[in-house]
């Protein structure tokens, strides 16, 4: 009833600005997709919606258009809708992409996108520079180098926007420290990428980095696919460390019964496990200088620390750890009344909001939620370390009680009388 609310002349509202941004989505262009793989986000979201999950139809369609725009704007090899993370003041639409080989942004470019964060915990703004404080003698262990674009936790790059049609912003690469620290904190995101993260332990970076770390954790834990969909490349040498796979052209879709088997044998992880170290590929944290270009491929076996290992790629889910005593995954059909054309839905109980559907030869992952890992126990932040002792108490220095006024007076009287 358009006419029922005709009362005031509206000012140019935020809504209009939003809509104007969105209008760019609907500009029509020649299709020219060649080899670029753009997931049909609207179709996947239709499947999720048929299971009572996901987002509304109009937003889904806008996301599809926004992702196509992203694919046009950047030299990408593939791009898909990763999910939507809710924040306190705004939300993030997240796209996962891979650059075309050779088109990865240069390190300088990366560095620009990244805020200062390679140091040890000075990412906190507005706290420093109050007065010259005594210098701590604490010397941090040298940071564990992050994985490069295309490898491990940085295998994919992530772009976020506040809503479909807003500018896509590339998130910085994630560092092991960020992942380790993100595991220890529970934090709502604000929706502003440049927001400071105020937490203990202090997070090495701003919200863009925390968001990226959470995406890395969620991705590592929840990107699953029907067993057999992906396979290792035959040409690849078959040792433990295989970290790439291809779509099996001969994949015969799993039956619904197989996918619904509570033993979870029908599903595998297709993202590398994130080691406690905060990397997917373990690196020896010896204090030697690493050459960034080489550390991935050469196995320098300085056995100073024990190598961490995780489950290999394409490992079935049945070995996944329980979530607070409950199964890690819940399985169901998308439809109870029309099972013939229903899809199978697998939902992570570790990261509520992460779902995967599989129907026929198609599947997709999505995450829609606050970016918070499930926990049934009440969170207690890590306690700050004990304060350091001020001075070593020894022969030269000992602590004494301050004299009382009576003692001082007695002392003064003694001096005078002496």
């Amino acid at each position: 009833d358009a006419t029922a609310s005709l009362t005031d002349v509206p000012e140019a509202s935020t809504h209009v600005r939003l809509a104007t941004d969105e209008v760019v989505l609907f500009a029509r262009e020649e299709e020219d997709e060649d080899s670029l793989v753009v997931e049909n986000a609207a179709e996947s979201l239709d499947q999720f919606r048929a299971a009572g999950l996901g987002l509304g139809q109009e937003e889904s369609f806008r996301i599809l258009l926004a992702i196509k725009n992203l694919a046009k704007a950047k030299p990408l090899r593939s791009v898909r809708f990763w999910g939507k993370i809710l924040g306190l003041e705004g939300n993030y639409i997240v796209a996962e992409a891979e650059y075309r080989e050779g088109d990865e942004p240069q390190e300088e470019e990366e560095a620009e996108a990244e805020p200062e964060m390679e140091g040890d915990g000075d990412g906190e703004e507005g706290v420093t520079n109050e007065a010259p404080l005594p210098k701590s003698s604490y010397k941090a262990a040298p940071p564990i180098p992050r994985e490069n674009v295309g490898a491990g936790a940085n295998k994919k790059v992530y772009f976020v926007c506040a809503y479909p049609g807003a500018e896509w912003i590339a998130l910085p690469l994630v560092t092991p420290e960020q992942i380790i620290c993100a595991r220890g904190i529970r934090q709502f995101l604000t929706g502003r990428l440049d927001a400071a993260v105020t937490s203990f332990p202090p997070f090495p970076g701003n919200e863009a980095n925390l968001l990226r770390a959470q995406i890395a954790r969620i991705t590592a834990s929840t990107t699953v696919s029907p067993q057999g969909y992906y396979t290792f490349d035959e040409d690849d040498d078959g040792d433990e460390g295989r970290d790439s796979f291809v779509v099996d052209e001969e994949y015969e879709p799993r039956s619904k019964a197989e996918l619904l088997d509570p033993a979870l044998t029908g599903w595998v992880h297709h993202s590398l496990f994130l080691l406690p170290q905060g990397r997917c590929k373990w690196i020896n944290p010896s204090p030697k200088e690493y050459n960034d270009e080489e550390d991935e491929d050469e196995d320098e076996e300085d056995e100073q620390a024990e190598a961490e290992t995780g489950p290999p790629l394409l490992q079935p889910l049945q070995n996944d750890e329980d979530v607070d005593g409950n199964m890690a995954w819940s399985l169901r059909l998308s439809s109870q009344l029309n099972p013939t054309s229903a899809s199978v839905i697998i939902s992570s109980n570790r990261w509520p909001g992460a779902h995967t559907y599989a129907q026929g030869a198609k599947f997709a992952n999505v995450y829609i939620g606050w970016g918070i890992k499930y926990s049934s126990t009440t969170y207690s932040p890590e306690l700050p370390p004990m304060p350091a002792e001020e001075y070593p108490v020894g022969v030269d220095i000992s602590e004494e009680t301050d004299p009382t006024r009576a003692e001082e007076e007695a002392f003064a009287a003694a001096q005078t009388t002496a």
Partner: protein
């Protein structure tokens, strides 16, 4: 309202009128932008005229006069062009065009009608309208574009079948019309009666003998001829009243009784059903 797009479309879906997610997403962006660009008070999607090679979506934007909207059309729900205001003689000529819309706004139609009698008062047409008419042998041939026909059709539909529920609008002492804030919806019983619905147009029956001129100022649709030029049905039980025009098939008005939710949508060929009298049982 653009805001009520989903609710409204939900109410006409049972009549076979749906828009795709793509169209709805585009409208949700383009209509507010269009509204703001010219500071309209409100904008609504009027409907869709299905041409042979495209679909014309029609939006109406309102300033202060609810009965005098500015009309826009689009074939992709995204880029909008304003429709010309057409003179009544053009509307009259356009109403004589038989056949489908072609899909090309520049397509030209010729309509030949008998010229007015020699002793008729002169029409005093504006130059640009007169330029479209050519009189030969007592016959007037009017040449008009599909864009003009589109504009004429929208105004014809509005005049002939646009309806509102009783009490939803009031006339102020100065003659302006506004939404009635106290309107709480028709009762479920009222919503089953044609007499609860009124033409949303400047009343043709000016000598209204109504007792309450602030409320009873619109023409009731029960005066329409033929009497059964409407199909009123309750959908989903009494949760939704749907009033379909038989004169302009494709015009669907909906109202959720006991709520302020009402509106209409036209989705059709843009042709008047001149066979109506023969088609009734």
């Amino acid at each position: 309202d653009a805001r009520m797009l989903t609710t409204g479309l939900d109410c006409v879906a049972g009549s076979g009128i749906v828009l795709s997610a793509e169209q709805r997403a585009a409208l949700q962006s383009s209509l507010p932008t269009l509204q703001a660009s010219q500071r309209f008070r409100a904008i609504k999607l009027w409907g869709r005229i299905v041409a042979l090679s495209t679909e014309y979506f029609i939006a109406q934007a309102y300033g202060s006069d609810l009965l005098d909207p500015t009309v826009f059309y689009s074939s992709d729900c995204s880029v909008w062009a304003q429709l010309p205001r057409v003179h009544p003689v053009i509307v009259e000529a356009a109403s004589k065009i038989a056949g489908r819309f072609q899909g090309d706004p520049a397509h030209e139609y010729s309509v030949t009608q008998p010229a007015p009698a020699a002793d008729a008062p002169p029409l005093n047409l504006p130059d640009e309208v007169a330029a479209l008419r050519k009189t030969v042998d007592n016959m007037v041939t009017t040449t008009l574009t599909e864009e003009m026909r589109l504009a004429a059709t929208v105004s014809l539909v509005d005049f002939e079948v646009a309806v509102v529920p009783y009490r939803a609008f009031r006339r102020n002492p100065d003659g302006t019309i506004q939404a009635c804030k106290s309107f709480e919806g028709l009762t479920p019983l009222e919503a089953t009666k044609l007499s609860s619905f009124y033409h949303f147009r400047r009343p043709t029956n000016s000598a209204s003998e109504s007792k309450n001129p602030a409320i009873d100022f619109l023409d009731p649709i029960t005066n329409d001829l033929p009497k059964t030029s409407w199909s009123l049905q309750a959908e989903r039980g009494s949760e939704l009243s749907v009033l379909r025009s038989l004169l302009w098939p494709g015009y669907v008005f909906y109202h959720v009784p006991e709520s302020r939710i009402f509106g209409s949508f036209y989705s059709g060929l843009g042709t008047r059903n001149n066979d109506l009298v023969f088609m009734l049982p």
